[in-house]
Symmetry: C2
Subunit: 206 residues, 2 copies
């Protein structure tokens, strides 16, 4: 059993953790991933290197935790304090998908979130190990919420049984991701609403 | 009127241009975009800096031309010597889209093409100016071929009139792009064929 720290220690730890996250995020935005170091993060956070190594074993891990923490904040802002991990299931699949994608639009346009997520996403493109860690810890959990919602829509007869939800979700999620990553077009609610309509109904005449 | 260079000069120029492209591509893969310099490219290509400045005004321009040249080679290999700029129009929209996407799968898996395109795509994520240049010169021309093919399908009554082809194309193209950029899943012919079927027919019951 782990001994619970005294309230003072816990408060100090929480303050250091916050300072380390802020420093890590600021550094990766300013100098990029390759030049961000544990030493640099420690100096900027005003803590000893050992404090960081007590909790994390590499800069990738610090950054991933810092970024997860930031994403949670951005998701909470985008859902106006709602639970960002709950995917709505009102019975109206199109409406639910549009709601979630609109929140993602807000998150992607959040200036506090944009620069660090670009820095990490860019490094993930050329650094497969980091890219896969980013996927496992950040992307895949959100994608799984789509899978679950699409499965529930299959049970309700709103999505064909022969459709693979893990692929189908990419019809709405990936176009938005590519517009954000590669500037292939503007990002708006109208755009994500259109993606949902095209994907659900297809573009061929019915 | 520009004087045509003597055959010898033209041959020497072509050889220098090729050496510069090869050096630029090799460097961006090895040290990344930020550390690639005109000086470095010149030294590696065995030419003077002035030779490069005679033809290009920045490293972004050299790299873009080098990469365009490489993409053309990769596209030609993927289409087995066919014209990579011609989008098939056999009258069967699904078949034509599948053909083109299968060629893109081959291109993305071409090892000579993968590392440089990752290096440039990664930089484009954090460097909006380069990202937009990359889009204008490399991505958008291919996307326009999809737009034209989808318009022809609209004329033939195979795609609804109210569908915006510039958005619709993203249903097939972006999922593949995101799998490649962010390792969100494996890339295969079966996968791209499935995307085409889902996008044309929708995932809701008909």
């Amino acid at each position: 059993m782990v001994k619970k720290p005294a309230p003072d220690t816990a408060r100090r730890s929480e303050k250091s953790r916050r300072a380390i996250y802020d420093a890590a995020i600021a550094l990766v935005v300013e100098v990029g991933y390759p030049k961000t170091t544990i030493e640099g993060i420690a100096a900027r956070a005003g803590v000893g290197k050992q404090t960081i190594y007590r909790w994390w074993s590499s800069k990738a891990e610090v950054l991933m935790d810092a970024f997860l923490d930031l994403s949670e904040q951005a998701a909470q802002e985008a859902t106006a304090g709602g639970d960002p991990y709950a995917f709505p299931d009102t019975g109206d699949l199109a409406a639910d998908l549009k709601t979630v994608l609109r929140a993602t639009v807000d998150e992607l346009k959040n200036p506090r979130f944009e620069a660090p997520s670009r820095a990490l996403a860019a490094e993930g493109v050329v650094n497969e190990q980091l890219g896969r860690a980013f996927l496992t810890r950040l992307l895949e959990p959100s994608l799984q919420l789509y899978v679950e919602r699409l499965r529930s829509a299959q049970d309700a007869g709103q999505v064909r049984r022969d459709v693979d939800p893990r692929i189908a979700l990419e019809l709405f999620v990936s176009p938005l991701a590519q517009r954000w990553l590669q500037y292939t077009g503007p990002i708006s609610y109208e755009y994500t609403d259109t993606l949902v309509d095209y994907a659900l109904n297809g573009i061929a005449p019915r």
